[in-house]
């Protein structure tokens, strides 16, 4: 299922489709800073992209569950700051490794695309 990004600066219909797995990479990146619940993950991605990216929650939750099933993240129910019970996700050792691998792949991709786009 393709994750969709919303670019708030342009109009709503100006949506781009991310490469497969990019949402997963973003989730793994966010969880590197510590355990977080689903809503928090979405917020963090939005904030750290200076509101350029807004993750659709309808894509976020299936992605979280998929990552959990693959053993890259794990979850537990904890009390949140507001004393409410929430499901917190954290990275597993496998998840850390997977993230490292994806990050280097991503850097390679970015470099490659930048080189290709330079003449323009």
């Amino acid at each position: 299922m393709p994750a969709r990004l919303v670019n708030h600066e342009s109009a709503d219909e100006n949506r781009i489709e991310l490469l497969q797995g990019t949402l997963d990479m973003l989730i793994l990146r966010t969880l590197q800073f510590g355990p977080q619940h689903g809503h928090g993950v979405g917020q963090a991605i939005r904030q750290s992209s200076d509101d350029l990216l807004k993750i659709e929650r309808g894509s976020l939750y299936p992605a979280l569950h998929r990552l959990e099933a693959r053993g890259l993240i794990s979850s537990e129910w904890k009390s949140s700051d507001l004393n409410r019970r929430a499901k917190y996700y954290r990275l597993t050792p496998d998840g850390r490794k997977q993230f490292a691998a994806e990050q280097s792949k991503w850097n390679l991709l970015v470099r490659a695309i930048r080189r290709v786009m330079r003449p323009a």
Partner: protein, 913 residues
Amino acid sequence: MDWRLWRRKQRETDLRDEIAHDLALEAEERMRAGESAQEAEQASRRDFGNVLLVKEDIREMWVLTSLDRLVQDVRYGWRTLRKNALFTTMAALTLALGIGANTAIYSVLDAIMIRALPVQNPGELVILNWASAREPLVMDSHTGAEYNEPDGRRTSPDFPWPAYELLRDHNNAFASLFAHQDLGQLNISARDQAEIGRVELVSGNFFSGLGIVPAAGRLVDENDNRGSGSQVAVLSYSYWHSRFAADPAAVGQTIRINSLPFTVVGVAPPEFFGVKAGRAPVLYVPMMNRPSLARNYGNEHDTMFINPRFYWVSIMGRLRPGVTLARAQTEVAARFRQFALASAANDAERAVLPELWLQEGGSGVDSLRRQYSKPLFVLMTMVALILAVACANIANLLLARAASRRREIAVRLSLGATRLRMMRQLLTESILLALPGGVLGLCIAIAGIRFLTWLLAGASDDFSLRVQLDWPALAFTLAVSLATGIVFGLAPALEATRMNITPALKEVRSSSARKRGSPIGLTQILVVSQIAFSLLFVLGAAFFVRTLANLRSVAIGFNQDHLLTFRVDASQAGYKGAELSALYARMEQRFQGLPGVRAATLSDVLLVSGSNHDTSVYLPGVPKHKGRGGPSTSYAEVGPTFFETMQIPIRLGRAIGSTDVSGAPIAAVVNELFAARYFPNRNPIGQRFRMGNSEAGDLTIVGVAKNARYSSLKGVIPPVVYISYLQDIIKRPPIGMYFELRAAGDPLALATSVRKVVSDTAPRVPLTNIRTHSQSIETTIMQERTFADLCSAFAMLALIIACVGLYGAMAYAVSRRTNEIGIRIALGAERPRILWMVLREVLALSAAGIGLGLAAAWGAMSGIASFLFGVKPADPLTIALATGVLLGAVVLAAYAPAARAARVDPITALRQE
């Protein structure tokens, strides 16, 4: 509640709560931004999208991750296995053979050596034995078994009756001490049908001591053993079934044992087969009947219950609760020592007294164990080696396959499969592989048990071992092979999944399997060890086959062709003395007159059947040797035409003839060995001597016969004296005789007319052991034949397995090196060179394996030396032959991959990647 259902529910609530939490947080944020509560909540929902659809998405994932995944794994595994049909078949077959053969052997071992008697608390049972450094002189005569222990002592489980009574009545260690004796095969007739069956004498407390409850009626008790004993019998359950159709009315009926009437009083329970493995009695009768049933040697019958120097009764005991074996032994050994001391007449006798020792008796008396434990141990070792070879092979096949699947695994990992998932997949495949192997193994085990029981029964007519499939053994072998599959299936998988994906993806198939400089891989080690094991088997097979061939080509000294032999024992039907001899003479004449019979004779010992009669020899002018160890000889009582019929040439003088009858001077024909040993440098004809068990005076040598094999094919031929059975010189009751009929055609075709002659001449006289003489000689080398057959089969099996392993390894190596080979050819390497390059590697592996195998054989040979005949363990010809066979097989297995390497087309090879 079902665990899975519970988890499902739990996950549903979790998901609901998680989404609710998200919606609430979003709404709160919007409210903080100034929206009204209602607006905020609606916006939050709208923004989230279709909650139901998202939930559906997630649920779908759950299903895929659990049950369906297993199905997926199984399907995928099945496809992979089917794609590699050769690999699958080989691996499953190897597994099945390993599992099946091991289980079968272990089941038989268990039945003979380990399984407990089906009685109450078998752990409390002990067997009484004695041991002494030499043959005890206080023992005048002994009926039963005597064994030479490896440490040189002699041991036996038989005691004098007064010793039994003494120990039974004066001890604090035993709750019960009971006695029994195996009378062997007797003539039993019930409901007008005569047959041969094993009869066991038992003391009155035998059944109560063992704690056995009758299936019908009652068992033998103390009252039956008063005075001369009541003539009652307890039937075995199987005899009750076969002869009386399990009719309860059998109790009270009369049966005849050697024509004496006995009343049936009860039936033993179905699970009880006596206390001797493989020797199940048909009837149990009170001990006091021994004088009327057992053969009488000298005046044994009058004194057997009072003579302290006649050893014959076997004793078992049940320890009192809490008494240890050691404590009981201290007590009864001291008492038996006093007894033996009291029975000694002089200092010489006092010097070698038998010492009593106790042995755990939970699995019964051990005569069968002694007979078969060593051959079974050898078999067990062979089969364990086969299992090792099988496991090595599976490991090898899996390793080769895992290596070839590195790319596949890498691709699946990069597409998002987790390590756990991959391991589960490989584990599923290993188990899928093991399952058919296990099922097939079970079938082989069942067939193997039948085969082994048949094999062990081989020679004896009344072998009745109950072998059951040993489930723990099956589980064990299954576990071992499964573990091999898992370890070797998973270890490469683990490594593969831990690997960095990118290089593996880039890896082209043609790169070298192993890096130069690290030439020894696990595969190579496995191949070498397989070759080493196979060599062991091939060597073993070669030794046993040669042993068998040597035994078969032994010159036996008479003509065994077209010879029908059988045993007739008229004494069991009540014939005695002169009446008996006359009956045998009448039968002999009738047999001689049968159409198709060229000649007929009889003898009390069947030549080369494993039995023998020995006695001491007194020579004129030589002082009588007191005790044992003096001149002795084997002897045979024969009929008038014995030498003619058997075709044993007479070297000097004449054969035993029709004039050598009761009243005539006693004539003896001796073999050349006897003449040379006792009358060296003299003409033996006319010389006189006496035999130890003869009271009829001197024997005169009338002839010298060519040496012929006497009791066995192995060992040295003893001195032998042949005398006429009609001269009544041996002071003991006449017993059964073997008849030997030289047939014109097929000897077994005479069986019917022989039976008719016997039943016409003397109804109720049993006729047993009808077979050709060659058959009975063959049964004496049954063990050697078994080893030769089994070891050849195993060697073939091991060779096939090893060759499959080698073929797999080489084919794989060649396919990995196609590219390299292509380059070599392109650069001008000649094809024979390529062929040699591959074969050289195989030969190097073989050389290592053969070296190891020979070293191992060197160590193992001492273990089987006692089974060999006419072959030395270091026989260079045998070793060269075995090595040659192995090398041939190895080269054959490696030739196809090597030839494929040589045929590589450089263009295709280089274009491949």
